[in-house]
Chain length 271, copies 2
């Protein structure tokens, strides 16, 4: 994809796995691949915002997407550069404005969610959530099956090392971007950053995730403007409630040639 | 287990799943079980600490374990009651002391981790982490296999609804407590609360989890004093590093009759 904004980005993506020496149940030495997990502290104009634990493959896009999905920065043109330095564990965001009091105020109001870990959302996240709802976009059953078949070719890091979740931006032609991270929320945020950076609107996108559909992940797709979400895993009750409120077409337990529709059955064409 | 402390606990555990109407890929209506996910705001002496998203089956023990694992309260005898009210989403903790400034100070210093979601640890979590290391406790290969066989009978909610992780306290005779929650960190914290409440020391305990072994979960078992951790899933690099630093015997990818040892091979007896 072509970058359509003028942000100056460092290119500090890391190799996702490394080899470690393990022993199997017979006591035999076995070389294993292990997923990385590194702290990355996001700073805006040198003010510390938050520390994320990440696989580290796409730290600049993760930073962007985190700021976007948390509602901390609403206009990407206000960001001039993102400079990631792993030696000090910092992702430094420079902006066009000097005063970031408006941002630090938002950090005061926090909720720990547990999509899967104990996640954190800040006050800013909920601010614009209910301003509008997502459009009704139709999708054919055959297109979902086709996508599920194509997606099995991804999940590289998971196949090699386990311990990661994968998320993807797809359209009816296939997978546009597939991101894995130690946290499925990081993977989702990185995709959000990629969309922001490349000026991709969510309307024609299908969001795929290997992880569960909790309230938090539904919030994220809403912030990304994506009307259809497909998961290999299950859903929670609050995930369903929020999908109804925001008009997210919600498909889960999707594997090979079967799936369950948890919301917006009318948007599925049973061809 | 018998409660050995005098805390006054509400008994507000919820039913973990409820039925929803879904549609399968043929458009046929299917009844599905879905895991609950509710916000629970922990307050200490009416001061708001944090909001967790939880399945809600054991909210009092979750509250206790959260406060313990985050290092926010270090002596259980300082807690007089925990009163959970789902109608207002509050778990109110009453303590013997009035001034909780020491606790609220700890909340200022936060790190968002991603075992799996974007978790949060507060300054207090790291405070006593490195004060000592865990003891070398031996375990036989046959005992691990025996445990893996016994554990397959649990995971009730997962089997019914998916979208949850399970964690268990075990000893070499079997499973003592098995807890599932929408977040594996909640499940671990609930077990920590159960241990605290029943004055169970970690030395002879084996911690089992369906989830991945990231740095955050290793921190939790250290806070619980548990020297051996067994996971069905994989590990991250930082999980291994921390296990080495804290002397956690780390077994992962454990299924049926196989596992990999990522740290402390010397504690495994290959019988």
């Amino acid at each position: 994809m072509n970058k359509s904004t003028k942000i100056n980005l460092s290119n500090s993506g890391l190799k996702p796995t490394n080899s470690v020496k393990t022993f199997n149940h017979l006591g035999e030495e076995v070389d294993s691949k292990v997923a990385g997990e590194l702290p990355l502290t996001i700073k805006i104009n040198n003010t510390e915002i938050i520390t994320l634990m990440t696989l580290g493959t796409r730290p600049e896009e993760l930073t962007l997407g985190y700021l976007r999905n948390q509602g901390l920065i609403s206009n990407i043109n206000e960001i001039t550069s993102i400079d990631v330095r792993w030696d000090i564990g910092i992702s430094n965001v420079s902006t066009t404005y000097k005063d970031i009091k408006e941002i630090t105020d938002k950090l005061k109001n926090k909720t720990v969610t547990t999509g899967c870990g104990q996640g954190t959302i800040f006050g800013g996240t909920l601010e614009k959530l209910y301003d509008n709802i997502l459009p009704d976009i139709k999708i054919k059953k055959s297109e979902i099956f086709d996508l599920l078949a194509k997606i099995t070719k991804y999940n590289d890091i998971y196949k090699e090392a386990g311990a990661v979740h994968g998320c993807a931006l797809c359209d009816t032609n296939g997978v546009l971007e597939f991101v894995e991270d130690v946290g499925r929320h990081n993977a989702a945020d990185t995709l959000s950053g990629i969309m922001w950076l490349n000026n991709i609107t969510g309307k024609d996108i299908i969001f795929y995730t290997t992880g569960r559909l909790t309230s938090e992940i539904i919030m994220k797709v809403k912030h990304m403007g994506i009307p259809i979400i497909v998961s290999r895993s299950g859903v929670t009750n609050m995930g369903i409630e929020l999908a109804k409120d925001l008009n997210v077409t919600m498909i889960a337990r999707a594997k090979q040639r079967s799936f369950l529709i948890y919301n917006n059955k009318n948007n599925i064409i049973f061809d």
